[in-house]
């Protein structure tokens, strides 16, 4: 009986340890911003998902294009139908690997570079994106700011439209992770 309980205890500790390598965030905040002549373009999504594997240093993101909320409903509609074609390309993803290995058991702020594939509007680009991973009291969080060029992802900017979108869009990402069980 004692052995069985020990086996169980040992087994549980194993499975727990293994699961703790994977961290997930279901409410990643991703915002886009670009300054434009008539009015600034900006939108926020708070339903992006992210998975961080602290043993393999993999860091992945995925966000539904339709989840971006604009101030103006018409701008949001044009963003989806004309620029991002969210019916055809419903989500933007990034699948990357952190260049530096981070010891997530130690508190601190770690500047990192993440190399991987950024897929927006059905076009995938290899990018190395800078960011910061912080560990505070065992809670892992991540922030990043980078630019996306519309032409890199074949996003047309028709001259006829009223709401001009700048050629480069600033993206801000922030995620707070919890252990995935």
């Amino acid at each position: 009986m004692k052995y069985i309980s020990m086996i169980l205890l040992a087994w549980m500790s194993i499975t727990n340890q293994a699961a703790q390598d994977i961290y997930a965030c279901k409410n990643t905040r991703i915002s886009l911003y670009s300054s434009a002549p008539i009015e600034d373009i900006k939108a926020v999504s708070t339903v992006g998902v992210s998975v961080y594997n602290s043993s393999s240093d993999e860091l992945d993101f995925s966000v539904p294009i339709r989840s971006f909320q604009f101030d103006k409903s018409l701008m949001q509609e044009h963003f989806n139908s004309d620029y991002m074609e969210s019916d055809k390309y419903p989500r933007a993803t990034f699948k990357g690997k952190i260049q530096e290995h981070i010891d997530v058991t130690k508190d601190g702020a770690y500047p990192v570079k993440v190399s991987g594939a950024l897929s927006v509007h059905g076009v995938t680009q290899n990018r190395t994106i800078p960011g910061t991973i912080s560990v505070k009291n065992g809670v892992i969080s991540m922030t990043s700011e980078f630019m996306v060029k519309c032409t890199d992802h074949h996003i047309d900017i028709p001259q006829i439209v009223f709401h001009h979108i700048a050629e480069s869009i600033q993206i801000n990402v922030s995620a707070t992770y919890s252990s995935y069980k």
Binding site: A24, K26, V49, S56, S62, S81, K88
Partner: protein, 309 residues
């Protein structure tokens, strides 16, 4: 001692298991499948079926969103050909068949209050438009249903009583976006004119009508619209010189504006008028150029802008 041996044994196998698991994550990319399993697409998001609240003849199933104001200028020129058309009136461009000015305001995303005034009959209308059901991305709702209730009044002209100046229009729009390029709506409606239009013997106060309109996307910013209506009435027949209104239009979307150029046989713009009294016919050259300009004003901007900062 034996106990500790077992514990040690299990812990060591544990570490090797852990390493294997980490390996399998790399090879099978389970982070990837985890990411996919966590994806929270809003499959119930309403599908945008039409690009504007107006097609050629009909109103579309789309409503103006909350705190948005849509300003409408709709114009129909004179007969292109036939005995009242031709070169001497520059193919109708010198004449005005009907002009409609209107405002559509979003009380909520689903409820609009609309006012407008049209040249024919001097008819002024007040309308409530309600999006009862939206088509959803996952087809849990395969179509959209929008209801329109409208009261029109003709303030000028001689009528026996004030009530005789009033007309009513009720419509249920059933719409579906079949593909990314093609949308269709079918709309049964009921017209009630307290004073029959036209006011001749046999003209009914009340009748049913059925409208159908489709939009085919030809480019990101352009679509072709075909719009047709038929009044079910023993009076509104070809024998009494009535025709079914039919319109074909090219819709151009330019950011805040939607601009539609169209050709219709109907002189009238307002539903009550064109369903009650379309006597102009394509075969007699009685078709005309028309246009619709829609300009959207959004009053959401400032409040949320401040809130963001």
């Amino acid at each position: 001692m034996k106990k500790y041996f077992f514990l040690l044994a299990f812990l060591t196998t544990g570490t090797s298991l852990m390493a294997q698991k980490a390996d399998s994550i790399k090879t099978n990319n389970s982070a990837d499948s985890l990411l996919n399993s966590m994806n929270n697409d809003d499959k119930n998001a309403p599908v945008v079926i039409f690009k504007a609240s107006r097609l050629v003849l009909s109103q579309s199933s789309e409503t103006v969103k909350k705190n948005n104001l849509n300003f409408l200028i709709i114009h129909r020129f004179g007969d292109f050909a036939g005995k009242n058309g031709g070169g001497q009136i520059f193919f109708g461009l010198d004449a005005v068949a009907d002009v409609y000015l209107g405002f559509e305001y979003g009380l909520t995303d689903n409820l609009n209050i609309d006012i407008g005034r049209t040249t024919i009959g001097g008819l002024a209308d007040l309308e409530l438009k309600y999006a009862l059901l939206h088509q959803t991305g996952d087809n849990s709702s395969p179509l959209a249903i929008t209801l329109i209730g409208e009261a029109g009044v003709r303030p000028y002209g001689s009528f026996v009583s004030t009530g005789d100046r009033v007309s009513y229009f009720a419509q249920a729009i059933f719409a579906r976006k079949f593909s990314s390029d093609f949308s269709l709506q079918v709309a049964p409606s009921l017209v009630q004119n307290n004073t029959p239009i036209p006011l001749v013997p046999g003209s009914e106060q009340q009748f049913f009508a059925l409208s159908a309109a489709g939009r085919l996307k030809v480019s990101k910013h352009m679509g072709i619209i075909v719009d047709y209506a038929h009044s079910f009435s023993s009076f509104h027949t070809g024998a009494n010189d009535f025709s079914d209104p039919l319109g074909v239009g090219l819709e151009m979307i330019t950011g805040g504006h939607v601009f539609t150029v169209n050709i219709t046989n109907s002189r009238a713009i307002q539903e009550i008028n064109y369903l009650s009294n379309t006597q102009s016919d394509f075969s007699r050259g009685q078709y005309r150029i028309g246009f619709t300009i829609s300009r959207m004003f959004d009053f959401n901007h400032k409040e949320t802008h401040k809130a963001e900062k």
